[in-house]
Symmetry: C2
Subunit: 472 residues, 2 copies
């Protein structure tokens, strides 16, 4: 019998691959190793679970272990793959302290990424959290609950009861500091405010959500202040101080007494498993892959938050760890391993985020330094236009930033911000970018118009028109 | 001195052209003839004025005559252009019964279209309205008002006071029939229901909003019934009967006593001005134009609801009279006439409509008969998927229909329907269609994902994935 298709990691990429493989090759064997207890959960939903908008942690699970078994997948949880031998085509698995060796025909490394907190001094004090995975979401939600209340979701098998009970016993925080004003920081600030907690966000640079560009960052900042969040922009956190538990944020402008700290300063790909193997790691630190998700070593694939993909604008490798990318690449690799080579698809860096009632979308390359590094001559324009016909109630100002290459006129990137259906409009720009559209072509797209949804000249068209004026 | 640029029609296309020309050529002369009193008003906003959501008729005006004058445009209202001599390059203008002749250097025919009601027997009875233009919107809103109340907006100069006062004196209707279940019918049903009127919609075919496809029509029908509208589908109206005033709708299934009827069965391009000239009329009945909006006669342009444009899918002429097309073509022609040839842009047939809380968008060619007539081998798929992550509150089912050409895999058209940000998503498909995208390419687009806005697999991607299965 042939060796099985072995997948390391039981989340989006890993289980998408295993599911597709099992569907295409019902006779084939696929084993998924997951070092933890949780599988197939919605990372992006965890802030809303902490907020309370998503009631139960189980709501975040896409698949149960039983669902996975029904698909014909041999799922093995709490088994950590600690080594890969690409010559022998084996992995070494640890379970309850015991090692075993598993041969593979093909191997998918879908080990994800982890939240970074070590650059922040004092990050290991109690009461300092990152948001990464279900356990941390449960712990933070427990810390926000009243001590008298039933600990959240401890009836769910995989929940770490001890931790949840411990944090439920804490008094709810009165003041919280969020270190980092990216996606996680912004979403978690909303979550904390929903619990009535005094919330401070520290951002080292001058703008929130740097990948969305300055105009988006400014609108989000204004809106978050309206929602009662205190922003410390251009303000680096020097240290988190306290006894066992965090008590103070020491920052460049002073000190803030806090009861809880959330560090959201970024994530790092989990590639340690491959150190010592010939599998090539890209400049980003994530695993280098080709258009089919193959690594530099025959029979070894990588997908999801640990892997690079090809960027639609530059054609070069890029590391943009997001949910669709993981699901899509996993599915394609499952199909490829099953015998039907299928491209994983380029990424355009499309991302959307909600900050209270403000919506933001971004795609491609907006930043000029980045664009120049990729050999473009960038020119940008930011406009603000109504989201609906001026006379129609309920609209909001929509802010659009476009970046293009001056010589070719090609659209490189864009961002859209506003309260009225702004985020989803980014898909228009994502499609334009992936389909190699110039700004003059963008300006002449036949986009939708009806008073409740868009003015005659959609904000995207207005931005294209103005930017086009700088190109001619 | 050179003869002026003469524009016939003072609405979207005409005034966009005149404005652009005046901006580019401050030394040039441009005259706009408008046969009526209203200029530059938002057609698409009139149902919301009738509904009362837009309070004042003046809210619908984009430009006042004073604004137009400030732009350096010689606007002449209540002057009808009754003849064109393309050899002599003159137009004949009637004002207060007096004729005069005006030479032109270039001529733009932007005469718009008019609502059709003559196929309906009894259409000239009092109380039978079409919705086309501000006067009819004022009349209908007046008819919905209580007799004791102040007639609406009679303080506005251009309002036809006599008509408004006359209809205000009527008792508000208890029962209204809407003949036609297209855009206007659907939007006006919403307007009538907002006034608490019993509302019946008659649609000759089996589905509302035929250009949006059956799936959209069915969802809209279900939703309108929930909103208290009585639908008569597959039911032709035979006659409107009454004395002076309409009293009865005689339809193939019986008779309905009514107080008011709105006929919304379509519009027809106003091209009579060009009969007897060599200017070519297209198969659609609208004026044939090239990529710069030029007609078959040198120096004569046409734009807006009276003109054809080139369809992005077929590359053939098509008549799709909508707001953006008019504005965009007008602007391009203004620039061309000013000396800088500028293409008017293709149309993709992009349209969006709101039916109470249901949103629909459509683009391209959805219908198989139409696609076959254009030489395609059409294949379609309709799917329904969540608008947001399943665990995130506030989402709705989003229905997506895609039509593609079987051989090339090219996306030909699509429709999107749902209550949660569904309509504006059509711009993704509009962009894909204008940029010649195949279904496999569509399936791999990097579209946005975040729980409040979209599931991991956007409904558009789900539809592409399923349709792709039929292509392979």
């Amino acid at each position: 019998m042939a060796d099985p298709f072995v997948v390391v990691g039981g989340d989006a990429a890993g289980l998408s691959a295993a599911s597709k493989f099992a569907r295409e090759r019902p006779d084939g064997d696929v084993i998924v190793y997951e070092k933890g207890r949780w599988i197939s959960y919605a990372h992006c939903g965890t802030p809303y679970y902490v907020k309370g908008e998503v009631e139960h942690v189980t709501d975040l699970l896409s698949l149960t272990p039983a669902d996975v078994a029904d698909r014909g997948i041999d799922l093995r949880r709490e088994r950590e793959v600690v080594a890969v031998d690409t010559d022998e085509r084996t992995v070494t698995v640890v379970h309850n302290g015991e090692q075993s060796v598993q041969p593979y025909s093909d191997l998918l490394v879908a080990t994800g990424a982890r939240a970074v907190s070590d650059p922040v001094d004092g990050h290991s004090l109690d009461g300092v959290f990152t948001l990464h995975g279900i356990d941390s979401a449960c712990a933070i939600r427990a810390a926000l609950a009243d001590p008298g209340t039933e600990p959240v979701d401890t009836d769910v098998d995989a929940v770490d009861r001890e931790t949840v009970e411990r944090y439920t016993a804490w008094d709810p925080p009165e003041t919280v500091a969020v270190v980092g004003g990216g996606y996680v920081g912004v979403e978690m600030a909303e979550a904390f405010r929903a619990h009535g907690v005094e919330t401070h966000v520290f951002q080292r640079s001058g703008h929130l959500l740097p990948p969305f560009g300055d105009a988006a960052g400014e609108r989000v900042a204004d809106h978050m202040r309206e929602q009662g969040v205190t922003l410390h922009l251009d303000c680096a956190v020097e240290e988190l101080a306290g006894g066992e538990r965090v008590e103070t944020v020491v920052h460049e402008d002073g000190r803030l007494a806090v009861d809880l700290v959330l560090v959201g300063i970024g994530i790092r790909p989990n590639t340690e498993l491959l150190s010592g193997t010939p599998v090539e790691i890209g400049d980003s630190g994530a695993v280098a892959t080709d258009e089919h998700g193959r690594t530099s070593v025959d029979g070894v694939y990588a997908a999801g938050d640990c892997a690079e993909d090809r960027h639609a604008v530059t054609g070069e490798p890029a590391w943009v760890p997001l949910g669709l990318t993981a699901n899509r690449a996993g599915r394609a690799i499952g199909q490829t391993v099953a015998g039907d080579p299928s491209p994983v698809g380029d990424i355009a860096g499309t991302a959307v985020v909600k900050a209270f009632d403000m919506e933001c979308g971004r795609v491609g390359i907006i930043d000029h330094e980045r664009a120049e590094a990729d050999g473009f001559d960038p020119v940008s324009e930011t406009i603000t236009a109504g989201s609906r016909s001026g006379y129609y109630p309920g609209g909001d100002e929509t802010t659009v930033t476009l970046t293009a290459d001056r010589e070719s006129g090609r659209l490189l990137g864009g961002a859209i911000t506003g309260r009225d259906r702004a985020a989803i409009r980014i898909d228009t720009l994502a499609t334009a970018i992936e389909r190699d559209t110039t700004v003059p072509q963008l300006e002449r797209l036949d986009l939708a118009y009806a008073p409740p949804f868009s003015p005659v000249w959609d904000p995207v068209l207005v931005a294209a028109k103005v930017l086009n004026g700088h190109l001619e």
